[in-house]
């Protein structure tokens, strides 16, 4: 019995640029132009629940953003992940035409990353105050930590106590 993910990969055909299998998760990397079509096909293959829509900032690597879509099939108990590599100045097509639930998810991505979605009915900030400047989850946005005030001594801020180590690539 073919797994629903494999059926989907077959139906998507050339839209999928790369398949990544890591720890039982299947991620399909799709170029930006084919994304909406791929989502539509996935929706009709049984992956009807849009579980998550988010982004990752890879700064300073290029292309800067990865936009992630996680879809679930409630009947067949399967999950699929789409990833789109997006440059900093590009916009994404909005998925609200397929799932009204993508509305707030895309607003959150816009609020925290600054990625605009074309065709979104109401793209504005959702978590930060309306007049906030900057997109907090970007890598070049600082955490804005306030060190504790002591006399004659500035202690480390919490994020410096264990500094970031070099990546250990096995």
């Amino acid at each position: 019995m073919t797994r629903p993910e494999d059926v989907l990969v077959q139906r998507l055909g050339e839209a999928v640029v790369e398949q990544v299998r890591f720890r039982d998760d299947l991620t399909l990397i799709v170029p930006r132009e084919h994304m909406l079509r791929a989502l539509e096909i996935a929706g009709s293959t049984g992956f009807r629940l849009l579980t998550d829509l988010t982004a990752v900032d890879r700064h300073p690597a290029q292309p800067r953003f990865d936009v992630i879509y996680v879809l679930t099939s409630v009947e067949q108990h399967a999950r699929i992940r789409f990833m789109v590599h997006l440059a900093a100045d590009q916009t994404m097509p909005s998925a609200t035409s397929l799932w009204p639930g993508a509305n707030w998810l895309e607003r959150e991505v816009f609020d925290l990353f600054g990625i605009r979605f074309d065709g979104h009915p109401d793209l504005r900030r959702i978590l930060m105050p309306d007049d906030w400047e900057g997109h907090p989850l970007r890598k070049d946005y600082p955490l804005v930590e306030e060190p504790v005030e002591f006399k004659g001594h500035t202690p480390k801020v919490p994020s410096e106590i264990i500094p970031k180590s070099k990546p250990k690539l096995l």
Binding site: M128, P129, W132, P136, Y141, P142, L143, V144, E145, E146, V157, P158
Partner: protein, 190 residues
């Protein structure tokens, strides 16, 4: 005749403890202790003490639960820890009817003007307990999204530490606030 030392304290009379008795005919210097003793005899301060007693035993908090500490605040109001036995029978929904604001939880940048607005809507006399680490100093979260301590917005009377503070800790802070209120009026922060 010279006075060699401070005026000696006479025995207690019906007027109150520590009545000043000075040597006949000599000028005396009133000390801080004397002034205090004098105050306790004046009628208006006694009324002030009664009013403070009434206020501290019927503090009505405004419902101002923000985050996790709010759950512990609700638990403090429930059957096991029962804040009602200390007078807070009713948590008022409207800040205009409340005299205590227990800021329980983290105050985000978006919420800050709301906190200020609600504090200003409360009528004098009013007190504030900053419950939990986030309300006291920002807590675990030292970042762009939170106001590092609600005392950056409004004056706080009692800080209760903990993440979240146990209901017993909140009750202890509450009792400390009651002690603060019970002191004579002129020594209050305002």
């Amino acid at each position: 005749m010279a006075v060699t030392g401070p005026p000696e304290r006479g025995p207690s009379t019906t007027l109150g403890a520590g009545t000043i008795v000075s040597r006949a005919g000599s000028p005396t210097e009133a000390t801080e202790a004397d002034l205090r003793a004098l105050e306790s005899n004046i009628l208006t301060t006694t009324v002030g003490r009664v009013v403070s007693w009434a206020r501290k035993n019927s503090l009505w908090p405004a419902q101002f639960g923000l985050a996790c500490c709010a759950i512990e605040m609700i638990a403090t109001a429930q059957a096991r820890f029962d804040i009602a036995r200390f007078g807070s029978e009713a948590f008022r929904a409207s800040p205009r009817q409340a005299d205590l604001m227990i800021v329980s939880g983290r105050v985000s940048q978006k919420m800050a003007p709301v906190v200020k607005h609600i504090y200003e809507q409360m009528l004098e006399p009013k007190w504030v307990i900053a419950m939990g680490d986030c309300a006291s100093c920002g807590g675990v979260f030292n970042n762009y999204a939170l106001v590092q301590g609600v005392d950056k917005l409004i004056p706080v009377d009692v800080y209760v530490a903990g993440c979240p503070p146990r209901p017993e800790a909140l009750l202890y802070g509450f009792l400390k606030l009651q002690e603060l209120i019970a002191e004579p009026t002129h020594r209050r922060r305002r």
